[in-house]
């Protein structure tokens, strides 16, 4: 430790470095500050949340915000349940649908392969913002609007996910599959015993993307649902603003922590993996 400090001050231009590092630390504090502000506001009383000037640390830590969130007349637990069910179902459905498709596109030959992959490519370029009106209408005609299905089914196949999985299946050498075939392993066995374990990392990344995407989803549930009982937590926070007379920031921030903190916890435990995944997606 002392040696590290000593080394710091013998490097050339240490003054400049020190200045740059202090600025960096200040900037980091500024970037995290909104989260801090959300959390402390959640633990302030209603009166303290409107104090002028605002208090940086609550003078009294209270659960008043959480109490008023849960007593607002909104069934917060039901919203949370919907978010959890939808998120888990989307992850499961996506893996179930995308893994076999990606495997076939990566490792098998079949007629019209290029054509089918072309469909995946085209789908990749079409944004959700364009497809929601017809999708909503079909859900309506199937009487599914008051269920969780419209939030789950349309997410079943994600073109980008198919690309990514296909890429990682491709990296597995063909010899491994051939030798498994010689040992008379069936297709399904090859997939379960050989392919899946070797693509664990890609699958975890896919699951992580759909966790973050679905947990945070707001636009899709907004356009797909007409009934509070099937709506997710993101919509509950918005609804909370409307049902309370005047904005109660402490209770709003309390509800917001329910949405944000699980994501932050996952990030703390898997930050390296998550950052790698996003960097990979950016590089294609």
């Amino acid at each position: 430790m002392i040696k590290a400090i000593k080394n710091y001050f013998v490097q050339p231009k240490w003054g400049l470095q020190l200045f740059s590092d202090i600025m960096k630390i200040l900037l980091m504090i500024a970037f995290l500050f909104p989260f801090y502000w959300m959390i402390v506001t959640a633990f302030k009383s209603y009166t303290e949340s409107m104090a002028v000037p605002p208090t940086l640390i609550p003078s009294v830590w209270t659960l008043e915000g959480y109490r008023s969130t849960f007593n607002s007349g909104l069934d917060i637990l039901n919203y949370a349940k919907n978010t959890v069910i939808v998120t888990a179902s989307v992850i499961a459905l996506q893996l179930l649908i995308m893994v076999p498709a990606a495997y076939a596109f990566a490792k098998r030959e079949f007629p019209l392969k290029g054509f089918w992959f072309g469909i995946v490519l085209v789908a990749f370029m079409i944004p959700l913002q364009l497809t929601y009106i017809p999708v909503y209408l079909s859900m309506q005609s199937m009487n599914l609007v008051n269920t969780l299905w419209p939030q789950i089914l349309p997410m079943g196949a994600d073109a980008f996910g198919i690309f990514m999985l296909r890429q990682s299946f491709k990296q597995i050498p063909d010899e491994i599959i051939e030798s498994a075939k010689l040992d008379s392993a069936g297709e399904i066995q090859i997939m379960l015993r050989i392919m899946l374990p070797m693509c664990k990392s890609a699958m975890v990344t896919i699951a992580m993307f759909s966790f973050i995407g679905t947990w945070n989803a707001y636009f899709w549930p907004l356009v797909m649902t007409r009934n509070e009982s099937v709506r997710p937590l993101t919509m509950a926070v918005e609804k909370l603003r409307d049902v309370e007379m005047g904005i109660r920031w402490n209770s709003l921030m309390a509800a917001n922590t329910l949405l944000v903190v699980p994501i932050l916890i996952v990030f703390i435990f898997a930050s390296k993996k998550i950052i790698e995944g996003f960097a990979y997606r950016g590089m294609k």
Partner: protein, 306 residues
Amino acid sequence: MTSLSAFTTEQLRELKRIKRRSWLMSYAMILPAILFLLAFVIYPTVSMFIMSLYYGNAMNPYKKFKGLDNYKVRPDFWVALRNTAAYTGMALVLVMVISILFAQWMYKSRKLNNVAQTVFFTPHLVAGVSAGFIWSWLMSSQPYGLFNTVFNALGLSTVRWLDDSSTAMFSIVLMNTWKNVGYYCLIIMSAMKSIPTEIYESARLDGSSAFKTFFKITIPMISPQLFFLLITITTGSFKVFDSVRIMTNGGPGDATRVLSMYIYDYAFERNNTLGYACAAGILMMLLMVAVTVFDFGFVEKKVHYQ
């Protein structure tokens, strides 16, 4: 052909059977994914175009055929388009400049830099709704709003952020810059890390200044990633919705009513205007395609690929 004669007809039939079974298996594997994409992406896009030719509502989209009438641009479409363009322009400049500066500042592998990368990336993972609420609270124009408290303490006058039509859009861009800059920074940083150190070394030996090195070496070397950023930020900006809806809901007045919001309003909040919404959606998609094609046609020529 000669090799075939080595097999008996019996064996040939067997081979054919195996091959057919094998491609049936392949089809079984891709079928679910293809069906889902057809049902939820391809079909809706086609159907959206057909609906854009009709007058109708969510209960009955095909009340009356109107041809291309819905494509006659209405004045409020121009407002939405202008707002979207303003958002896109501001987001492009802010996000590009800041993420390049940040990346240049902290791409070197050091403990502090690694921590900083993680910290700047954090907001990207949070829901647009959550981020929108937190920033609405920070930007409150009430006396207890935090930003204004700080501004007043510094002797600056109160800014009405989201409540003023001249600052509302910029405030939303600011929030989204905070949210996204860490992600774009990450992409630029990994590009910078892959620049061979020998290039910098020889530039240094030639006595090139840090400033010159940055513009003559770093920027050209990372241009493929800058190009990727250009496209993602532009198309992303066209789709912006969550944060706008939470922070201003299009207001004050129409100051922040962006395209995606215009489409949403016409699709669900008004009567018998589904056709307009679909037409606007198709126009939005064409615009996005146009931007991408333009980028590829004109900007890509200047991009240096290794």
